[in-house]
Symmetry: D3
Subunit: 227 residues, 6 copies
């Protein structure tokens, strides 16, 4: 933690297949598969609806109002990565725009997750480069202070270690520790397996009360029906 | 108020025709027709733009982080209802997703209004099931504590009694007490009747200052023009 | 400042060509061209995505919950203007809807920027009248208290003098003092001139680190790479 | 609900002894005695620390930025009452200051609970008149629009019916329906009865794990200890 | 506006007697005397209760996370001044602590008003140096970027021109344009003159309804009493 | 990370002398000594002013609205510890009151830092048990779900590993990794060493501009003085 002015070039990325596969389950299923943990705060919102991605985290720690390290992290991106940017204090400035996005895309980045603001969102949307952020702001930044790249960071309330898997969609962002990626992908797959079946039953009018056998525990807890 | 662990099966729903008709006027006109009251807080936002609905309220009172009663309320839904969910404390967890939505739609629900979070918003949008909520969050909930169904609740700052009419659109959500539904629908209809006429005049360049005869009261209030 | 009950009919608008031209650069480039100043707070959001406008400000100062002066300012609109509405206290009420928008459009207004709420956003979107606001709310207002028109106002944290240029897009809203409009347009044009070139280089894989010659100053600041 | 321009002069106040007695238990114990319900939102804070009161509610419904009805409600105050003020929209203006407080105290009011702002807080503190509010603001209000007095209101997320008991202290504000006042006071008294005993045990080093016999259910739920 | 890297050494301060006198009336009375305008946002709170000051504004414009210019503004302070600090973007960092306060006090400053964070609040309280701020935060700042001193700034939603009078107390902060200082002091004095009289009447049980002769206009507006 | 239902009984606490010593420097100095990192979000506020503590962290991870694990963590407290409580989602409920505080004090805890609400704050203040929290709320919690004790947690935006040093005062809360405790204490001591000297100089009227030799770099950056 807390090293400033340091760039780690070699990080251990999570299992690639698992990192790629997790996108399909989405953030809700993945965090359930981990035991309802790992979510970033719900103020992290996508700049446009419909994107659903997963990838391996490269991290960057920035100071408020200073995006110098965004250029440093760009060099560390490998295809399949998602950049996770944390700030040492609360800030809504626009750290990232279409030029940096062009560079990130050229390096193979799939998305940016940033606990601050971004700008050029119209162009980013046209480019199809998804960003989850705390704010949208035209406010530019300076390049004066060192942060770090590929150190563990806390982003929007969640610890992200370089190489972890990040899963993001319209519901939010979840981080899966690299060591749990394969097991989480398996657990998520199992959760999804019988969803279609459940959906069909519920669509036919079967109640969750019956499908999940809740009537007895509800009665045991004291639920009373009054006509 | 404040009964926990109770489900009221028989509620008196507002006049069906009025409940159906109110959607067409929208939340702004309806709350004006009631005297500028009845609105839920403006933090209640639709998960997708363009939906405009009205229906009769079935209510559910939930504890933070616990959606057990959502399955209980599902059974009490009748076609034309809108589920109104209140929480006993502030919470942004995702109480509702695509499976519950499938069940609610199968029962004939038109929408959900919830003073907390929802998830699976991409799927909900594809399904065309509108939700007005305080947050979007992938965070799941547990099923451990009893709340109540069809008791009066305070949702996002407004009292909702089971059977009241709920009107929701891109501008927000308004609740019309069942006893006032017909009168409110009439008043809203009257407000709308001459809107087309006003719009035409304004579009032609007539000023509201003249159309509403405001120049004299403005001068009386002391308004001064300076060249 | 602080004159209440006054309407200034003659204001000096910024250079028309510059006022029209600034839209094309967007809020991010324009505020950079001014030295990273002039932005309204990032809570000011467009009611629909994609609009990008600039125009000359006519201003209106309103009291909370009272939109009487919106009708007064309508008369002062000239083609190419953007109405900037400030409130003397925090308020999220819906001061503006489709009827006022019809009137504003008939007068030639290009947009509304308001540090409060608006309503009828579905209709406003269909009409193509863009609004940047702090909130969306169905809550109506009364017409009881005088404010002022075309006095300097503070809107969402920025001073706006009548005649200033307002530039608004998906990234936010920036105000350019009238006296700086031409110079700012020139500076913005220069900033844009070599953006295409930079974008092409970055897309080809050149890093910002090299393109902006950052490696040396980063090393001088003490940045360390660890393998 | 929703009657505007109406003052109810005769309300049925909760049992006086229960209304007076509830102050001693405080908001936390009282809301527990009701089943963890009845609390106003936690943003309601006292203007000074240490006050702990209970009393019968007289209610007032106000419009944003307009405190006219505060003078109307003053006349309806009886000794032992607490004024509960709700606003039809979000507002932080200062509706209440030392002059109104002087009048309220002369009428026998014990406190004010208001979902908006107050001012003159230094003088109010010196006078010893406690207020729980959403904001402190010097911003004054006008007197132009009718609200109502002694109608049911929603204040900071809780329904308050005239005559209900309000209990307020440093932890927040809770409302007890008049019909439940006596039973709630009894239940609260029972909760308090063995608190001294528990406190002594815990102070001596006994753990809640043992005192509440939690070890077994924790183990049953799967809790694991790792050395 | 918007000059960066500039320090104005000669500013015209408001009339000294008026600037000194305004403290006694407090922010509520002063803003009323100006017509309910001039207040900073209510999120500006004192770091300790009870301070009530007025003085002439020296202003400083800072960048987020950078307090370099605080040292520059220190030199421009004259006895009787209040430093007003604005930030070009939203920031809660701690720009100011006990060392700067020692320097400000040595120069004769009466207070600091800052739209960001401060730290060392325990020591500042012991020193008796009052601060009104948006946040309290231990987060330090850097010294890398130029802002300006004694330019007009927007601080917490209010325009402050160097030399204006700032009045701050437990209710908030109000700014009085220098040209209006004397007239405002006179108007405030008149408002206060008969407050003692009013207070005595209200304390004796006279109602505001009668003292302000509100019964007739309330009836005219349609107020109904129901027994 | 992310283990649920687990209690680690053996943790490695930071050097005791350093953990005890850090309190004297306060959160501002300590986070500076680490390079301006390690702070919890500024929304974490003390329930009463004036407390200044440091200690070794024992951590607890809780679910929203459920404080069961607070009893489990109590057993793991050793004299000199500070309990750090994180929640898996946003919650303002009152997880902690005077009974738990009695137990924590009996175990030797010095403070609680919790990213949620607390209650009984009047009694906690009288007991002299300091708490830093996000909210004060009378809302009670249930005991139904397992969390974990002494796992790494993210609390208010900062990673806290069991055994780390926590320093808290009126300015906020900072966490020092156990491995850095001694070095940080040394660095903080050095920072403090010449503060008295600086303070004396500034109090005598010497400007920071001169004491820190800023005039030259400011001129080099382009600062201009205008008379």
């Amino acid at each position: 933690m807390f090293e400033l002015g340091v760039v780690y070039r070699n990080i251990t990325r999570a299992d690639r297949a698992a990192a790629d596969q997790l996108a399909r389950y989405g953030s809700a299923t993945v965090h359930e598969a981990m035991g309802r943990v790992g979510l970033l705060k719900p103020y992290m919102r996508p700049i446009y609806a419909g994107a659903q991605v997963s990838g391996t985290a490269v991290t960057v720690l920035l100071h408020p109002g200073d995006n110098w390290m965004m250029h440093v992290v760009a060099e560390q991106i490998q295809p399949g990565d998602i950049v996770v940017a944390a700030i040492t204090a609360e800030c809504t400035d626009g750290y990232f725009g279409d030029l940096l996005a062009t560079s990130f895309m050229a390096r193979g980045a799939r998305a940016l997750v940033i606990d601050a603001g971004v700008r050029d969102v119209k162009t980013l949307t046209e480019m199809g480069f998804p960003v989850w952020s705390k704010a949208i702001s035209a406010k530019g930044t300076i390049k004066a202070t060192l942060g770090s790249v590929n150190v563990p960071v806390v982003c929007a309330g969640a610890l992200v270690t370089p190489g972890d898997v990040v899963v993001a969609d319209d519901d939010g962002v979840v981080v899966v520790p690299a060591a749990l990626a394969v097991a989480t992908a398996d657990a998520a797959a199992r959760r999804e397996a019988n969803e279609g079946d459940k959906r069909a039953k519920l669509a036919s009018g079967v109640l969750g009360l019956d499908m999940y056998k809740m009537r007895e525990p509800l009665a045991a807890a004291g639920l009373k029906y009054i006509d």
